[in-house]
Symmetry: C2
Subunit: 410 residues, 2 copies
């Protein structure tokens, strides 16, 4: 048997019977090429949100077990309809829930982590010549009950199944054509990227690109699963996410830009410059369950105090502010400052450390446009600048032009 191909269809791709029919035809076309096909699907359209809305009408504090029993029905509806569509076209098919497909996860209801895949049932059905339609997002927990994988769970299911099957690739069908050099709604010159490395994709995801969540890309990277992001609705060839050759890795380049409007900046200001202060701040935030991105500690002033700033999702702003406020007295800091008129613009690529001209070009471009940079964070794979929200889209367009991203390359 040739290596299988995993095709994952997101909610918009299975939103109604007509779209399911179209997706089923794509799967059949690939199977006709002599390949074993596993299809992983999300719940139809907005169904998960509708089910959560029903739960909220019952109670704002539903338990995880019952919420999972509820929301997992969306994917079960998708798999059975999808298998019917395949069978109606003469293509042998079988639907499997996450537990039936051997997807096992931990006991953290509504945000479980996959612990292993037992692919025996999938392999048996593939061997029998069937297209296997697996419910994404669902898994069996150690108690043998259904649990769900949280945000981006269906992508994670697809990548994990592809890894377990040693599949040739995992095709992610979505409502965009692939990964762009920048959001095409904001930058008209934005260009589809044909290939991108796992590392760059991880940075892009962290920088706010919506295509895929980092948890799935991490699993793909660990197991060497080639991901192919494609549109359900356009014949475009999409973007391959894979290990790039050493040679490519050596070339310094910017592959894509991202603009993240979802975070706010928090600062604890006038902190006496003593060892261990930053650690205390971070421990406090970790205890409060607050995600932290882009931490910057300013150089101490002559008065021996400095500021510690970081970015956090808007939803956590108030909790984070409270957590820090309780620290200010203890640390002898001056206070807490919350700035929500900020955006983060990020250039993602490779070789930034060896080639500081990329960061330099970025700062120069912003300076020339009189855009003030509030925070900077760099790694070998990215440069992020926090700037005033009013300049976000303009900065994105200027940088896209400055790095020549609109021109065809690899």
């Amino acid at each position: 048997m040739k290596p299988a191909i995993v095709m994952k269809f997101g909610g918009t791709s299975v939103a109604d019977p007509e779209k399911i029919q179209r997706a089923a035809e794509r799967a059949i076309a690939l199977k006709r090429g002599g390949r074993s096909i596993v299809v992983v699907v999300s719940a139809p359209g907005k169904m998960t949100d509708e089910l959560l809305q029903l739960a909220r009408q019952i109670t704002p504090s539903a338990q995880g077990r019952e919420l999972d029993a509820l929301v997992s029905t969306g994917e079960t509806i998708s798999i059975s309809l999808f298998a019917m569509a395949l069978a109606a076209r003469g293509c042998p098919a079988i639907s499997l829930t996450g537990p039936q497909a051997g997807v096992e996860a931990d006991d953290n209801h509504t945000r479980s982590t996959i612990t292993r895949i037992r692919p025996a049932r999938i392999l048996r059905e593939l061997k029998a010549g069937k297209v296997v339609v697996v419910a994404g997002f669902q898994a069996r927990n150690p108690k043998g009950e259904i649990t769900t994988l949280g945000r981006g769970g269906s992508d994670l299911s697809a990548v994990a199944v592809a890894a377990a099957l040693k599949a040739e690739r995992c095709e992610i069908y979505t409502d965009v054509k692939g990964v762009y050099t920048a959001d095409p709604r904001l930058v008209s010159q934005a260009r589809l990227i044909k290939r991108v490395s796992y590392e760059e994709m991880l940075e892009l995801s962290a920088a706010g690109a919506q295509v895929m969540l980092s948890r799935s890309i991490e699993v793909a990277k660990r197991y060497g699963v080639t991901i192919h992001v494609r549109s359900s609705f356009h014949p475009s060839s999409g973007t391959r996410i894979e290990s790039l050759s050493e040679e490519k890795m050596e070339e310094a380049h910017v592959s894509s830009l991202a603009l993240d409007k979802s975070e706010i900046r928090l600062s604890i200001v006038g902190v006496p410059d003593r060892p261990g202060v930053a650690a205390k701040v971070l421990a406090k935030l970790a205890d409060a369950g607050i995600p932290v991105d882009l931490i910057v500690q300013s150089a101490p002033t002559t008065a021996g105090v400095n500021d510690i700033s970081f970015m956090t999702p808007r939803a956590h702003a108030e909790d984070a502010k409270k957590a820090l406020a309780s620290l200010t007295l203890k640390l002898g800091a001056r206070g807490v400052d919350l700035q929500d008129r900020v955006v983060k613009v990020t250039a993602v690529g490779t070789g930034f450390r060896r080639h500081p001209r990329i960061a330099a070009a970025m700062f120069a471009t912003l300076a020339k446009a009189r855009i003030n940079i509030q925070m900077i964070s760099t790694s070998d794979l990215r440069v992020s600048c926090v700037i005033d929200r009013a300049h976000g889209e303009k900065a994105l367009r200027l940088l896209h032009a400055a790095f020549g991203l609109g021109k065809k390359r690899r």
Copy 2:
């Protein structure tokens, strides 16, 4: 532990979050009385129909396994929402799918028969003080996969679970107040019946009463489960379906009337009067999967031929006609006659055989109103007359008055 009480809520009783809240409050009220409570629920409102409609948009010929995976999601949504509603009111609760609840059935997808209930999990959760919310309609087949129980499946689940738990009673909450002496929409004097025997209820169900299907009543009768039919929306005390005492059984009485408009009459006419002809006709119909009710063979004419007539559901009319047409030549019959302007009016009660005056009163009442009786069928528990459709409701009202059913009795 006192014997448990099983409460079954139908689709209209869990159609939206507000109705689920109300049903949950009923369960809690009963639990406060110190009882162990098992709740069995159907899919919300019209959901099963909507899911079937989705399947039809995909294909008119879906396989049973995939259809069951699809339609069973409705009950899963109900149980999780119901358990949330209980928990939100401080009542410990757990939802169980049919397979989780130990409901086992055969492999006939979409119309499985329950083979056994393994109540260990339900008992464990009851012992832990929880209200156990079980999905009706769903079961686990011998392959370990989900199957469904067909029409009336949720009632069947409730009665079977009540039998397995040796529950004190099985309360069936529905959108009517209970069993009436006749359909109250047709007969204004119709009265709620407080108690009715399994046997009478079986006859009423066969005669077209919509309250419960006979399969659930049969199981209740076999295991001695007392059924209590009640309204979800009115405080009325409803109807108890149970074994009646010997004494009651001896009294001849009419308890209820039913009018069935769902059947047509088919006759194979001018059949030579030879032994075995009726058997051949019935075998042919059985082979074609056609349900047959109320078979009447006329006395042979002097020419040595007779007619064989029976009633069958309208949906099977054309198939039945075809099956019989193919027999006419072989039997030397004159032809097939289909009459669809007919209704069946049935009086159900006890002791009809020993007390022929009941049948006589029925015929006399119809004769007096110049309503012609086309077919008659009697048993110890019922008298059915097929009459012209135009007279159906009038006959029902006349008989209701003639038997004095509007007056209060047991």
